[in-house]
């Protein structure tokens, strides 16, 4: 009980810190930084789009880890957190897709250009939407958890595919993070890196909340039965 109380306090702290940092970085991205030489003001979307995309891909990695853990241990908690990470990641990747399309309209002239990065992320989106369609189609708990865990393991192939799409195929999508460092001015890095942490903190809070609510629901079902 003491540990639970402590965890709730920590999550509350992570949530508040994440949102305050995001507001601060939002100020940096929209007001503090000046317009970019070639892209003008449209580049500011990047400070919201890229952290959402990075965190969602990390989140889908969490789904993979929890799914593998479920297949090994067959425990309810792993299944619950596999679903929560997938759910919140799907929301974040949708935000990244929408913001990316808005940026593409300014930079490339069209909202959708079938660029390798856009196409790969759209495939990823459909795979994880399929994950939820699969879960809703199976009623029995074990069968649902096992099938969706196997689906998540194979579906994860779309995550490295989305990340590497700009390197494998000829793409117009800017590549910001290289193995040698970031292709950004130091002032932009000062806003961009904290924004990734802010979005990650918001993500963790949402996953914790969703996971806990599902856990309570499951416990309640057990008590009723």
């Amino acid at each position: 009980m003491e540990i639970e109380k402590k965890t709730q306090g920590i999550i509350m702290l992570i949530s508040v810190a994440g949102f305050l940092l995001a507001i601060l970085c939002g100020y940096g991205a929209l007001i503090y930084l000046g317009p970019e030489k070639t892209l003008g003001d449209s580049y500011r979307i990047f400070f919201f789009h890229t952290p959402s995309a990075i965190v969602s891909l990390l989140g889908f990695t969490g789904t993979l880890i929890f799914s593998v853990r479920y297949l090994i241990r067959r425990d309810v908690e792993s299944d619950i957190y596999a679903v929560s990470t997938a759910k919140v990641s799907l929301v974040f990747v949708t935000i990244a897709l929408i913001m990316g399309s808005i940026w593409a309209k300014f930079a490339w002239g069209e909202y959708w250009n079938w660029d390798p990065r856009e196409t790969a992320v759209l495939i990823l989106w459909f795979v994880y939407a399929g994950y939820f369609a699969l879960r809703s189609a199976i009623d029995e708990f074990d069968a649902r958890a096992r099938s969706s865990a196997i689906f998540a393991v194979f579906g994860y192939v779309t995550v490295p595919l989305a990340y590497l799409s700009t390197r494998i195929w000829a793409s117009l999508h800017p590549v910001i993070i290289h193995t040698t460092g970031m292709n950004l001015e130091p002032r932009m890095v000062m806003v961009f890196v904290p924004m990734i942490f802010a979005v990650l903190m918001i993500y963790i809070s949402f996953v914790w909340i969703d996971g806990r609510l599902k856990k309570i629901e499951y416990q309640l079902m057990e008590v009723v039965e």
Binding site: D41, R44, Q219
Partner: protein
């Protein structure tokens, strides 16, 4: 510049709304967990 300030205010309002939602949900989790513990004790 004015457009950017407007966008910033909109983003800030959205983030504060989300923060309110998260804090509400965290306290809901706290309440439900307490009730669940009581239910199990019974």
């Amino acid at each position: 510049m004015n457009v950017l300030v407007g966008v910033f205010i909109a983003v800030m309002a959205f983030l504060l709304l989300m923060l309110g939602l998260q804090l509400t949900l965290i306290s809901k989790v706290r309440r439900l967990e307490r009730q669940m513990r009581r239910l199990k004790e019974r």
